[in-house]
């Protein structure tokens, strides 16, 4: 095995599978960004692609590509670590490979139908075969069923491997979290005329995924990642993982209530949701403390600088994007005016990026180091400018976009909601205010900056370590 050379054959079956998931994930990341740019441009020039690929189609592909690629990133990360953690080979390689291809072909069909067919007549047929029309989980019902079957196969592989090998704290949390994650998806697989009931269960999927089970999954991946990049003792990461689970589910499960303020649900949700969602930043603070403390304790000595940088970015991004930006508008007294404005998109952008994009990119860097024969990825790395520039551009772009959207959100809450009383005329008055329009231009500019960062990132993922022959230093503590 030569350091620097791609050596796919030396990877275990689970790791080879992980590489496939990562490749699709990065392709979808690029698609997410491009459709985001199209949608952002339509804010500035509504005639752009009008009647051809309308805003709702671009926006749907933008957010669906994101959900799917983040899931691919998680699945890839799990397949990467499962054999190492369990100490035995994957139980069902063939099944795992078939699952990957079935899932990927299904995703491709769904996206093509979104773009080409777009919509259908107002009946159940459309919901089953074209588009379910519910934000984030638009995938038609046939695809829902396929996704559940694939998740079942993936679950069998992960849990089965731990059963055959050895269990650990990380394994236990991961398996239980996967059950919850897959089970919650069922809450989004039905139709009802009753809109409040529809949105009640819809939030079970969205919120209990991104503000509970996904965060715990990230906790598992982070725990394993810290052991690998910093050689943090297992006892420490496992204890922290339990603390995070307790705090995350302790606040996040009933924090669900912050989505039940205005959808027809009873008034007690104002209190329950306001209180518990205000606690949601606490586990995220714990995660920052954990990551930074561990990094500092090991004097930032790491055999994989890009991965460590992205792990630190994750800790802060999660806290700021999910924690602070969520907290800012989570109390009902404020949310009455910010609900459904650009505040939400400001929060959504920074939270998904800070909490999830960062950790998956970190993990891919861990994987690539192994793929290239444990190549040197520390100081004085040849071509090291690429990972630094991509990290900087992606972050500057994201933060700039978030601030621009926040300014637009402030303006919208004030002009449309507080002063205008939310009529359609007030909506459009808000949309045409100079602050709003300028913010949309800034958002566009920072979005382009981010895209440049992503292109450099993708090049770096293909090239990093290629010009090195040194092997990574070992992490004896």
């Amino acid at each position: 095995m030569t350091a620097g050379r791609v050596d796919y054959a030396s990877l275990s079956a689970g790791q080879q599978l992980a590489v496939k998931y990562f490749v699709v994930a990065m392709a979808l990341f690029l698609a997410q960004m491009l459709f985001g740019l199209l949608a952002a441009w339509q804010f500035l020039d509504p005639e752009f692609l009008f009647g051809i690929v309308d805003f709702n189609v671009n926006r749907m592909v933008h957010i669906n590509a994101m959900v799917v690629w983040l899931l691919y990133g998680f699945i890839g990360s799990i397949f990467w670590l499962v054999e190492d953690e369990a100490g035995v080979p994957l139980v069902g390689c063939k099944l795992a490979n078939i699952t990957f291809w079935v899932l990927t072909v299904a995703v491709a069909i769904v996206v093509v139908v979104y773009l080409v067919v777009q919509s259908g007549p107002g009946d159940k047929w459309t919901l089953w075969f074209i588009n379910e029309g519910r934000e984030y989980i638009e995938a038609p019902r046939w695809a829902d069923i396929g996704i559940v079957l694939c998740m079942g196969a993936i679950f069998y592989n992960v849990a089965g491997t731990f059963v055959r090998g050895k269990w650990s704290g990380i394994a236990g949390v991961l398996v239980l979290d996967l059950i919850a994650l897959a089970g919650l998806y069922f809450a989004g697989m039905f139709y009802t005329t009753n809109l409040p009931l529809d949105q009640y269960w819809w939030w079970w999927v969205i919120h209990l995924w991104v503000e509970a089970t996904w965060e715990v999954m990230v906790g598992c991946i982070m725990a394993w990642g810290l052991m690998k990049t910093l050689a943090t003792p297992r006892r420490i990461v496992t204890t922290w993982l339990y603390i995070e689970v307790a705090l995350m589910f302790g606040s996040g499960i009933l924090g669900l209530g912050h989505h039940y303020f205005w959808i027809g649900t009873p008034e007690y949700w104002l209190g329950v949701g306001g209180f518990f969602s205000a606690l949601e930043p606490i586990p995220l603070v714990a995660m920052v403390v954990h990551a930074v403390y561990d990094a500092g304790r090991h004097s930032f000595r790491s055999n994989n600088h890009p991965a460590l940088a992205w792990l630190i970015a994750h800790a802060f991004g999660n806290f700021l994007g999910a924690g602070v930006w969520g907290f800012m508008q989570t109390l009902p007294q404020i949310n009455l005016y910010t609900h459904g404005t650009q505040w939400s998109s400001s929060h959504g952008h920074l939270a998904f990026f800070g909490a999830y994009v960062t950790i998956i990119v970190a993990f891919i860097y861990i994987a690539i180091q192994k793929l290239r024969g444990d190549v040197w990825m520390s100081a004085d790395l040849r071509g090291g400018w690429r990972w630094k520039w991509s990290l900087a551009l992606l972050h500057v772009g994201m933060v700039g976009m978030t601030i621009a959207l926040l300014i637009a959100g402030y303006e919208q809450s004030f002009v449309e909601r507080a002063v205008g009383g939310s009529t359609w005329a007030a909506y459009f008055e808000g949309q045409t205010q100079p602050w709003f329009v300028e913010a949309m231009w800034w958002r566009m500019g920072f979005g382009v900056l981010m895209t440049a960062g992503l292109v450099i990132l993708l090049v770096d993922l293909l090239r990093i370590g290629a010009d090195e022959t040194r092997t990574s230093k070992s992490l004896d503590r």
Binding site: Q118, T193, Y242, T265, P266, V272, Y427
Partner: protein
């Protein structure tokens, strides 16, 4: 348990820093919160059924009545008010007929992916106005003109664009006549849902009295 090495954190021996304590915490906290959520979900379910006694989500036949949205001093928030008979398209429907019409509207709104431009009860995308009180919006002029204007707009939103000085037009969703009626019924029913005062400070278009005469 073996003596921890020098490198390990000595606090690891304290009960509050032990793996075992936090594992139990994680299990009990998660189970407890999940239990509370299930109980609240059960209760919420009974309260938000269409036509339930709580009145939060009206029966579908509410589309036979005039609907208002007024400030309620007791609750200190704006709440929907169900007024006297004012049937949609001049034709009073039974509960089943009304449900079927609203259902067709909701299916149409989902099938045409309206939620990725608009928000419904504040949820969705932010490229077009919120639809929660679309039925009551003063943009329709007055009660008499509303049904006709809504129908014309939904039939051809490009020709009958309502852009308020912007050039952000709604693309033509090519709705059938039945789908248009369904969507309007759905929006009328939606405007009667009690949303805890969201949106706040909304001005309702000019319409007739909300007094049903039967109330004291």
């Amino acid at each position: 348990m073996a003596e921890p090495s020098q490198d390990e954190d000595p606090s690891g021996r304290e009960w509050w820093a032990s793996e075992d304590f936090w594992r139990k915490c994680a299990i009990f906290v998660t189970a407890g919160m999940a239990f509370v959520l299930v109980v609240l979900t059960y209760h919420t379910h009974t309260v938000i059924l269409a036509g339930a006694e709580s009145g939060r989500v009206p029966a579908y036949s509410v589309i036979n009545n005039r609907i208002g949205y007024e400030f309620n001093d007791d609750r200190n928030m704006m709440v929907p008010v169900i007024g006297p008979l004012a049937p949609l398209f001049g034709e009073a429907l039974s509960e089943d007929e009304a449900r079927a019409l609203v259902d067709h509207g909701k299916l149409t709104v989902q099938a045409r992916n309206c939620m990725n431009c608009h928000t419904l009860l504040g949820n969705g995308a932010y490229y077009a106005p919120d639809l929660t009180k679309a039925w009551l919006d003063p943009g329709w002029g007055n009660e008499e003109a509303r049904e006709l204007l809504m129908t014309l707009f939904l039939k051809d939103p490009v020709a009958n664009a309502r852009t308020y000085g912007t050039n952000r037009r709604m693309p033509n969703p090519e709705l059938t006549d039945d789908e248009v009626r369904g969507v309007i019924a759905y929006l009328k029913w939606m405007s009667a849902i009690d949303t805890n005062g969201f949106p706040s400070g909304f001005t309702v278009l000019p319409q007739g009295t909300l007094s049903t005469g039967s109330e004291s």
